[in-house]
Symmetry: C2
Subunit: 331 residues, 2 copies
């Protein structure tokens, strides 16, 4: 008997992560074993959700249903989220013990590495300031030294953080990574020159020419770059955020950018998104805002289904799945 | 007897290229043989020019004197310009046959490579459009595929063009270089995948995802990217100019950027510079303007004096100098 995979789309979320029939048809062609193993249904904003949950073993969803899940989905064994961050699902007290939760960590790496390359070079060249000058019709040269040899601090050392570190190393920077425990996936420093625990953050912030925020948003990381911590940065430093907005005190950052106590910032994540037209953030000087595009590829759903199919092979073989969320850490 | 090197500064030119006493003192420390070989004078805007020319064998100048030079500078044998481009000195009919002219090609490479890395990534990520959206307080995601595998056309294959090709190759692009003769410095393609003569330009422009202008400005290259040639580009293409403004028809480029017939541009050179506040270029959509900073390092004068000292060693040994301007080609 075929297992049942239900894909639940949310129109509230990014269209990039919406799975349509053509995505599924293409995945069935790329992964021929799928047709022998699963039947797939696609729902939108709950239009068929309870009927689907009644029979589904597998669920792919941006925002999985959380109410009374054991009763509504008695056969459900595995939920795959469409995003890498699961901060919007915390705390995980709604998740029955016998359901595995996996996130979509992985496909964001290559694009994120490129975005970080661009953002680091843009900050080094003072592009946020040059763009402001363009708007003010002011031609005033700012000369900067090559970026090689400077120091980049990357906060968070998962999929995104490692991409940021790779970008820094490709530019000849010294890369210091900071993670919760101060140890990497394989307990080595990976591509980073140094790997430190979050507890050492205050001591390394003053060393940084550039800081890239790449940590998951959890109760522990909210306001991680607080006003007090941001004040530890050099006034010549540049800041990049490709993670989640609440990790950084944007009011403090804005004050520093206005006052020349931070040279520039490239910020890809805002709160809320879409950022409202009346947000004061739009006009902050020395700041480039991008609309949450840093780590996303237009082939997003194809890549998600490829990763899910590979994980299904592991599931069917009784192997450990990739990207299983740790319930205690919350990511 | 010591030879006489006169350095003539022009306050009209970029402060970056102004040689001050401290630059000379530092160069004499770095290159100890200089003190035994040359005495060095520094002038500003002609304040001591004719007295200096009367005895100088060597001249370093942004804008060398061109009137009646044989009579005014009977001992002058070698003029070094402070810039890489010498378009402002053309035609070279003022240059006596027994005076060598060298340009300052070389030190621009590392910075230019970084600028091209940034510009290519920015165009790939549609950053010029995203920056426009920021100014309009509009949050609208634009998702783009990774840059690797796309095609970059680099027009001009000297110091700057080769830096642009290296940048393209570092990003995994296919790099097509175009030079006057279609042959490289060592008659190989260098880092480029293909090297074509300028006569093939019309056939390769439609292949390009990105075009980097890196050619010298001569009577032959003026308006090289004319309205007709620009129309050969794909509407999804992006344009970078790190050479000289008159190589490209900016009116045509602006029309195309406004009309969606060119996706974006990063333009580091304008005409005139500084670009006047009332120029229509400032407001063209999908365009990032930078103030002629792409290839310049704040250590510019130090690097110039280092290169000059190395060339002086060759001169004293009777060897061929580097960066000698070809009088017939004009660069």
């Amino acid at each position: 008997m075929l297992a049942h995979l239900h894909i639940e789309n949310s129109r509230l979320g990014s269209p990039l992560s919406h799975a349509h029939d053509e995505h599924v048809r293409a995945a069935l062609i790329r992964h021929k074993f799928l047709a022998d193993r699963v039947r797939i249904t696609i729902g939108w904003d709950g239009d068929m959700l309870d009927a689907a949950l009644a029979t589904a073993q597998f669920l792919i969803a941006a925002r999985p249903p959380r109410d009374n899940l054991s009763a509504r989905a008695p056969g459900l064994r595995w939920i795959q989220t469409t995003g890498a961050g699961i901060d919007h699902l915390l705390p995980l007290d709604w998740l029955p013990d016998d359901i595995i939760l996996t996130n979509n960590s992985g496909p964001h790496g290559p694009k994120c590495e490129e975005f970080c390359l661009m953002a680091l070079l843009a900050l080094s060249a003072r592009l946020p300031t040059l763009v402001d000058q363009q708007r003010a019709r002011r031609w005033s040269s700012i000369f900067t030294q090559p970026i090689a040899g400077k120091t980049c601090l990357v906060i968070g050392y998962g999929d995104i953080g490692q991409a940021a570190v790779r970008a820094a190393k490709r530019l000849g920077l010294t890369a210091i990574a900071v993670s919760r425990s101060g140890s990497g996936a394989g307990s080595s420093t990976g591509p980073a020159d140094r790997l430190m625990p979050t507890s050492a953050l205050d001591s390394v912030l003053p060393e940084a020419d550039f800081v890239v925020i790449a940590a998951p948003l959890t109760p522990q990381t909210r306001d991680l770059l607080s006003r007090v911590r941001l004040a530890l940065l050099r006034p010549t430093a540049g800041l990049v955020n490709v993670a989640r907005a609440p990790l950084v005190d944007y009011d403090a950052m804005s004050d520093m950018l206005r006052g020349g106590r931070l040279a520039g910032a490239v910020i890809d994540v805002q709160d809320p998104e879409p950022l409202p037209a009346d947000s004061p953030l739009w006009d902050v000087p020395n700041l480039i805002l991008t609309p949450h595009i840093s780590c996303d590829d237009p082939r997003y759903v194809d890549m998600l289904l490829d990763a899910w199919a590979a994980n299904l092979t592991r599931y069917l073989a009784g192997e450990t799945l990739r990207n299983v969320v740790d319930r205690s850490r919350g990511y």
